[in-house]
């Protein structure tokens, strides 16, 4: 494995390490695979897709050579369908539901979806047109999957939509949070461009509450959609957290997707704290930045880790080491303020907690020091509490409360979707779910507008 890794990872050309890992299907592979699809009636894959893509139809269109139609079928149900073709846990969704699981092997739905959307991308296709203007304005706060999805649907319905995006580019998680070798930025940019082509005004580098006030937005728009997602990684709450060489995993991954790759990690030892998908990203990015040794520390075990199986497998293939039942106690630095090590303590699992996972407790006297050059924190994400409070809407520890029918927050003018409404214990916070929530909010607004329109 180590040898294999050495051959795959270049220390002199880091860019190469971040190229997309999976190659797309060839034309011939797409023809063969699309023809293998049974074209089920009332197909279970459609029901298993959170955005309800008409999968048999888009696959049939690949088989018939109608790639534009195929891409339209995909993207009409899922405005970030090109990204989702790469990042969806398909074996848990569409491919897991494929009836061929019971006879031969499931159709490669994700790869076919990528094939069709790649075609649209390479051929510069514009898939949708804006609807006839209805005179209503909507402010979408946050240009990630949920916000883009809401904006796309509203623009098609004739709304005048403005997206306020804090970062330099829109796309949110797809642009900055998913590692390049899974999802290159150009895919996310293409999806953003599709939304822009519908006359959606995307104001980047614009933090609401800083660059523009909440009041201004509330006054100038008929509807507001809060789709700000989540914020940075919380503090570990241990000594040494402010040392040079301690990173927030979200920022760490973002840096690998924004401009020049850092050469500071070549030959270094990195530990990642946490065992979710973001922790895996932090670890695999470290490997690709040339780190000599990368360890994931997790206070529970393999059983409890929240990373997808395929992500776990991917990290292992990258040579990432896993230290289970290990928690950080203190980060150690030298006189210049740089990280030199991390003191850890062994844990054991006790009784199950509320979420069903067993509570880890420290084993007295098991402290030990791992010499490291960098620590990447990936123990979850904080909430945009300040902004939520400024809107004055009800929330539960930063999880915005919405009416399950109308998707309105406690302020009827403000709707919310995506990770900002995603609470603990609600399954996976997937891109595809955010996309669907964005659509749902768009339809909820339209329903309300249409209703108001009728009563006038």
């Amino acid at each position: 494995m180590a040898n294999d890794k050495m051959q795959r990872i270049s220390l002199s050309n880091l860019e190469k390490n971040f190229l997309e890992v999976e190659s797309g299907l060839t034309n011939r592979e797409a023809v063969e695979e699309s023809n293998r699809c049974l074209y089920c009636y009332d197909a279970p894959c459609i029901k298993a897709c959170p955005t309800g893509i008409d999968i048999p139809t888009f696959i049939k269109k690949i088989a018939s050579g109608n790639l534009l139609g195929s891409a339209k079928t995909i993207m009409s149900s899922n405005p970030v369908g090109a990204s989702c073709s790469r990042v969806c846990p398909t074996e848990e969704l569409c491919e897991g539901a494929c009836v061929l699981n019971h006879s031969t092997k499931p159709i490669m739905i994700g790869n076919l979806q990528r094939y069709a959307t790649d075609w649209a991308m390479v051929n510069n296709q514009t898939l949708f047109q804006p609807g006839q203007a209805n005179g209503r304005t909507v402010a979408v706060i946050g240009g990630g999957p949920a916000g883009l999805s809401a904006a796309r649907e509203l623009a098609r319905l004739g709304y005048d939509v403005t997206i306020f995006e804090g970062s330099e580019k829109a796309g949110g998680l797809n642009t900055y949070g998913i590692v390049s070798f899974r999802l290159p930025q150009r895919i996310s940019f293409w999806e953003v461009e599709q939304v822009e082509k519908l006359n959606v005004d995307i104001r980047t580098n614009t933090f609401v509450g800083k660059d523009i006030s909440v009041e201004e937005i509330t006054e100038n728009f008929d509807y507001i959609i809060l789709a700000v997602g989540m914020a940075h990684v919380p503090n570990l709450g241990v000594e040494g957290e402010n040392l040079e060489g301690v990173y927030d995993a979200i920022e760490f991954v973002k840096a690998t997707k924004s401009g020049q790759l850092s050469e500071d990690f070549v030959g270094k030892r990195v530990v990642v704290i946490g065992a979710g998908n973001t922790a895996i990203d932090g670890a695999t990015c470290s490997v690709r930045l040339g780190a000599e040794n990368v360890k994931i520390l997790y206070r529970r075990t393999e059983e409890e880790m929240t990373a997808y199986d395929f992500e776990y497998e991917f990290a292992k293939q990258d040579g990432v080491e896993f230290r289970w039942l290990t928690a950080p106690k203190r980060i150690i630095g030298d006189e210049t303020g740089r990280v030199t090590g991390i003191e850890c303590i062994k844990m054991e699992l006790g009784e199950p907690e509320k979420d069903g996972r067993r509570r880890p407790t420290a084993i007295e006297g098991s402290e030990h020091v791992l010499p490291v050059d960098a620590v990447v924190k990936a123990i979850g994400q904080t909430r945009h509490l300040k902004l939520i409070e400024e809107f004055g809407i009800d929330h539960n520890g930063g999880v915005v409360k919405v009416d399950s029918e109308t998707l309105q927050t406690s302020n009827p003018k403000v709707f919310a979707c995506g990770d900002v409404v995603f609470g603990k214990g609600n399954g996976d916070a997937m891109v595809v779910t955010a996309a669907q929530q964005g659509k749902d909010v768009a339809y909820a607004i339209h329903k309300q507008f249409s209703f108001v329109g009728m009563s006038n």
Binding site: D42, P44, A63, H102, S103
Partner: protein
């Protein structure tokens, strides 16, 4: 191991698999390679006055991504000098004395032309002759090939001329580009044919290029109809063989041709009356090596059925092939879906619902699990559901309880006319 040797009107070969007269049998080099691979016989690419061919000759249709579902050519008969072909036939026969070499022949419809060519090819030791009355393009425009083969009188006359001088068995190869192939088959018999072979290729235009709007294939921007063959034509060929096999006045052996790609196809043709088979497209798709499986598969099949010789299966299904009027109107089958095997793709439901008899329901059991069920009382036994079902064993077509005694349409009509006469009598 079963005996695979065949004897078609006196032409003996070690197995029933011959290469048809076509590009694979163009030269001694090719035929010798084929015999080395195991082919029992070869019908040499048609000899006649050398012709000029065009470039861009073949095309094929893909079906759902599968290559060569059907195949088409606009190549003509041999374009090599007769002397060269004759020399190579002689050498090949000498090297492979136990394999059958049949010379395919096509000349102008003149007695002296037929006499001359028959004598010349028999001089080099061929085992038989096949008169090509089927080629649908190029030669037909010169009054040969299917132009002869579509006129029963011409088939009979030219067969007769060939037979006047032939010392070896004469096979007449028939064109399918005719309403009723038994008419020309009977004419061949009347002309003295020792055997008939069918089918030659079917008139076809393979396609039109969506970008250039040219025909497929095209020759410098122009196209012409070609001859269609390959797996897609098998059912058409099988029917023609069967129609001839059951015809009371066609009593010569049949060499079956048309889309035969494997040993199973060969068994079907033989059961329907063919004494042996000829293959072309499958070899063009995969090479001569396919014959190994054909021989082995046929042999294993015969062994598994306890049949000693392949000749024992010839024509065994012919009595089961008849006219629609002789089918039992009171026979009923219905579809049954095996829930344990079904994967719930619902293809049977939508096929039945939209295009057949609306008798497959999509239901949910007490555990919330979806399942499909046939309302047997409404099922007409059309087979559509079992045809579209992608899983073996998920749908069975089973015999329903018989409510009425067997009665065919012909019997019913006869009975009704009896009643009518009886009524007429009463009225009188």
């Amino acid at each position: 191991m079963a005996d695979l040797r065949t004897n078609l009107a006196g032409i003996k070969s070690p197995n029933p698999f011959w290469l048809a007269s076509a590009p694979p049998t163009n030269s001694g080099y090719q035929v010798q390679r084929a015999f080395e691979a195991g082919w029992g016989g070869a019908v040499w690419k048609t000899l006649g006055d050398p012709i000029l061919n065009v470039s861009s000759r073949f095309a094929a249709v893909s079906f759902n991504g599968q290559r060569v579902a059907g195949f088409n050519n606009i190549e003509l008969i041999t374009d090599r000098p007769l002397d060269v072909n004759l020399k190579e036939i002689y050498e090949t026969k000498k090297r492979f004395p136990n394999h059958a070499i049949i010379a395919s022949l096509m000349v102008e419809p003149k007695q002296e032309k037929w006499h001359e060519i028959v004598k010349r090819v028999e001089d080099v030791g061929v085992d038989g002759l096949e008169l090509n009355f089927g080629c649908p393009h190029g030669m037909a425009e010169r009054g040969m090939g299917s132009a002869s083969g579509q006129v029963p009188a011409l088939v009979e006359r030219q067969t007769y001329w060939a037979k006047e001088v032939a010392k070896t068995p004469v096979i007449v190869k028939l064109t399918p580009n005719i309403t009723d192939i038994t008419a020309t088959a009977e004419a061949a018999c009347n002309g003295g044919a020792d055997a008939i072979s069918m089918i030659n290729t079917i008139n076809s235009l393979m396609g039109v290029d969506l970008d250039s709007w040219n025909t497929i294939p095209h020759v410098a921007g122009k196209g012409a109809h070609g001859g269609y063959c390959g797996p897609a034509v098998k059912p058409i060929a099988l029917n023609m063989v069967a129609e001839c096999a059951r015809h009371p006045r066609i009593n010569v052996p049949i060499s079956g041709i048309g889309g035969i790609s494997n040993w199973k196809d060969a068994v079907e043709f033989m059961l329907m009356g063919a004494t042996g088979v000829q293959v072309c497209t499958a070899a063009m798709h995969h090479g001569f090596r396919i014959v190994e499986d054909m021989i082995e598969g046929l042999s294993h099949y015969l062994d598994s059925k306890g049949i000693a010789s392949v000749s024992d299966i010839i024509g065994k299904s012919v009595p089961r092939f008849s006219d629609w009027g002789n089918l039992d109107l009171n026979y009923n089958i219905v579809a049954q879906i095996n829930k344990d095997v079904c994967i719930n793709c619902n293809k049977c439901h939508i096929a039945c619902e939209d295009t057949s008899h609306q008798c497959i329901d999509m239901l949910t059991d007490e555990n919330g699990k979806s399942y499909l069920k046939v309302r047997e009382e409404d099922c007409v036994g059309c087979n559509l559901c079992s045809i579209v079902c992608p899983v073996d064993g998920a749908i069975d077509m089973v015999e329903a309880t018989r409510e009425l005694a067997p009665m065919t349409w012909n019997e019913r009509q006869a009975a009704l006319s009896g009643v009518a006469e009886f009524k007429a009598d009463i009225i009188k």
